[in-house]
Assembly symmetry: C2
Homo-oligomer: 428 residues x 2
């Protein structure tokens, strides 16, 4: 190892000199906890409870129905979408926050298949990654069944080779939820475009976590999640982006009134709005959308300190440190690294593999106050995963050092073998 191994004191010093350190003050983090699960559910911004309370007691409680106009509830999906746009290389007016990631994927995948059917009717394949987040595969599976397409699943290293003339749509999650491996969005989108394949990107583990530039990448469609790195709260609305040249070519199938050109004319015929508005469907959950708006403010607060570029530098430093410490201090404990070494291929998480007891080890760590999570594998090609999200907004270098130290103690003591950590039917 060429770099000397950082000590806890080194890490504390790094925290003291961290130019992003003040961003952590935006959050109410529980005491005694190192929270490395912001890739599953982001943390609560301090500003959120008061803002939601205002929406409840003043906007809803007092102004009632008038708040659709006076509090701007009706335009909130667009206003929140404009904030998301700044994080993903989209323009204002090109993104709406609405519904769930699964539902938004259905909208854009249906749109992509429609455009493909018009422009290249002989193409009958959707290409994706075998370990893509399952809901993406499920949505594609049902659409394929309905419309006579085949869903072809390959390993990540085989995607470029499989991107052949039969592929109507390339559907990928930019950063893999299990391993944290990041695809080269620009290269794959360019390869797809060069041969007439449309690209659909799920940014669930990218938005707010890594720099994304959809326009520069030449992507066609994108969706993403509001409750991970965007700190929108449990089940916060998701988002959807469509390259402007595509929006008006198709009625996405969830043709509800919020996507109508004039929803309050109450005409019986559907006339889709121009642009991304037609990718709305029904009324959005305003309380959850207001919380997402606050969550986005907590990410955009980094703009004054260098924005996503600065967040990315710290994220890579954190994940790099975590991996360095694991290699040095957890050698011989049967833990492998699933996350790529190469920085350009790495998201904002570190995933460890282990063939035995991964679930119990995560539970034992949680009992010690280090919250990561477990993702089941399906054999040798995809082993069980211990997952640690390292969110530069609120995670520091000493947190990383202490987390690895706790993991070392869990492994060293063998305490994870205690029956109280055995696998139950857990949800997350």
């Amino acid at each position: 190892m060429s770099t000397p191994l950082p000590t806890l004191q080194d890490c504390e010093l790094l925290d003291q000199h961290d130019p992003l350190r003040t961003l952590r003050d935006q959050f109410d983090l529980p005491s005694g906890v190192i929270y490395l699960d912001g890739n599953s559910l982001g943390v609560l911004p301090r500003a959120t409870p008061a803002r939601v309370a205002h929406t409840l007691t003043h906007e809803w409680g007092q102004d009632l129905i008038r708040s659709w106009n006076s509090a701007g509830w009706f335009s909130l999906p667009h206003r929140v979408g404009d904030k998301i746009a700044r994080l993903i290389g989209a323009q204002a007016g090109e993104v709406v926050a609405a519904d769930s990631t699964s539902i938004n994927l259905y909208k854009v995948l249906a749109a992509a298949l429609h455009i493909a059917a018009a422009d290249a009717p002989h193409r009958k394949t959707i290409l994706s990654e075998r370990s893509n987040f399952p809901t993406d595969l499920y949505i594609a599976q049902a659409l394929c069944q309905e419309r006579g397409y085949a869903l072809k699943l390959v390993e990540p290293e085989d995607i470029a080779a499989a991107l052949q003339g039969d592929v109507a749509v390339l559907m990928l999650t930019h950063v893999n939820y299990r391993t944290g491996a990041m695809h080269d969005m620009a290269a794959l989108s360019a390869q797809a475009r060069a041969q007439g394949t449309l690209s659909v990107w799920d940014l669930a583990h990218s938005a707010g976590a890594v720099p994304v530039d959809l326009h520069a990448a030449g992507a066609d469609f994108a969706v993403g999640c509001g409750y991970k790195y965007l700190n929108g709260g449990p089940g916060a609305p998701a988002f959807v982006w469509v390259r402007p040249q595509h929006t008006d070519r198709f009625w996405q199938p969830l043709s509800g009134w919020w996507g109508h050109a004039a929803p309050f004319d109450f005409t019986p015929d559907y006339q889709p709005a121009a642009g991304i508005t037609r990718f709305q469907c029904g009324t959005q959950p305003i309380l959850s959308l207001v919380a997402l708006d606050c969550g986005l403010d907590s990410v955009l607060a980094a703009d004054a300190l260098g924005g996503m570029a600065a967040l990315r530098r710290k994220s890579l430093a954190l994940t790099g440190l975590f991996m360095q410490l694991v290699r040095a201090r957890l050698h011989g404990y049967g833990l492998g690294l699933a996350t790529p070494e190469q920085e350009s291929r790495r998201g904002s998480q570190v995933s460890l593999t282990r063939t035995e007891g991964a679930y119990a080890i995560v539970q034992a760590l949680i009992a010690r106050g280090v919250i990561g999570d477990f993702r089941a594998g399906d054999g040798a090609a995809h082993p069980d995963i211990l997952r640690f999200g390292l969110t530069p907004l609120y995670i520091g270098y000493a947190d990383v050092w202490n987390a690895v130290e706790q993991l070392r103690q869990v492994m060293d003591s063998g305490e994870w073998r205690d029956s109280r950590f055995a696998r139950r039917n857990a949800v997350t």
Copy 2:
């Protein structure tokens, strides 16, 4: 008129002796306002802000990801659904609260068309009402286009006659959003069933407003809204019910991970859960779902006082009083009654028609603190509407008297002709 016209004092006496009067104490109603728009957005229960604050600061803020299990977030769509089931004649376990009404309609309409295609492939028509809520028609329109069906729209009095052997699905909103006219769900569902047509009911203006018994009516599918009579807050999640014998016949097309038999196994193949669970798609907005849970508690609080039957008695008394007062005290002002006289045909609102100035009259009333709303017509068959929702949980007899008196003053003074009440591009 056989009944003597009630005075304000009579109405105050009725309020004093109203056995449901205490239910109003559950709500924080703004002072100086008579809120007759609970059919568009229900009011804020007093219990909601503290419950949402607890979800924010404790469940999300402190317990974070663990709350999916410890706070029961994951089962919340089912637990809220079980409460809704009690209001619509469904059994526990048959309803989930999720997504929007439009999206849930898409799920059940797609399921109904799939079943119809298998059981009666020659039927190629969806029958509905021309003045059904537009989003229902838009969703049907896109599905018809996609799957080769025709959407046939008729006036309400022509539905029974149009229900012929070509009709695959009868899709109706139980209580019309414009007029408050209520269909005979049992008779139409029975007629549909007798000739092999599936029935899909939108309960947006029924759930919590009028007694509904889906099983007794022989209905096949139902959806409904959480933010009207259920007091769930702006954009609260909607709900979906499917007759149990139908649930497992079809993958509804929004086949996301929350509808999977084992979502946390993260397997790449979609295996739908049994029962109504498969009508879930993605992660639900927990803050908004918690508020809906509180809203349902405010409706179910009536159970101790006679439940929906008692609410219905008071609702009919309120709408009857409103209509009686309009006929007697607003005679000669060019206002017509769009809501049926017959109690069995009436929902929980009163709609007035007027050929000129309906929008301005509603605005002038709002300026006086009486909040109803306006719905545009499209000519003589469907004139402009002034809409007044009369929610027995929190509206009293004196409210009705005072609202009609304010309307009389607005008409008498001609103040609605003031330019500040002229129509703008309003949202609601």
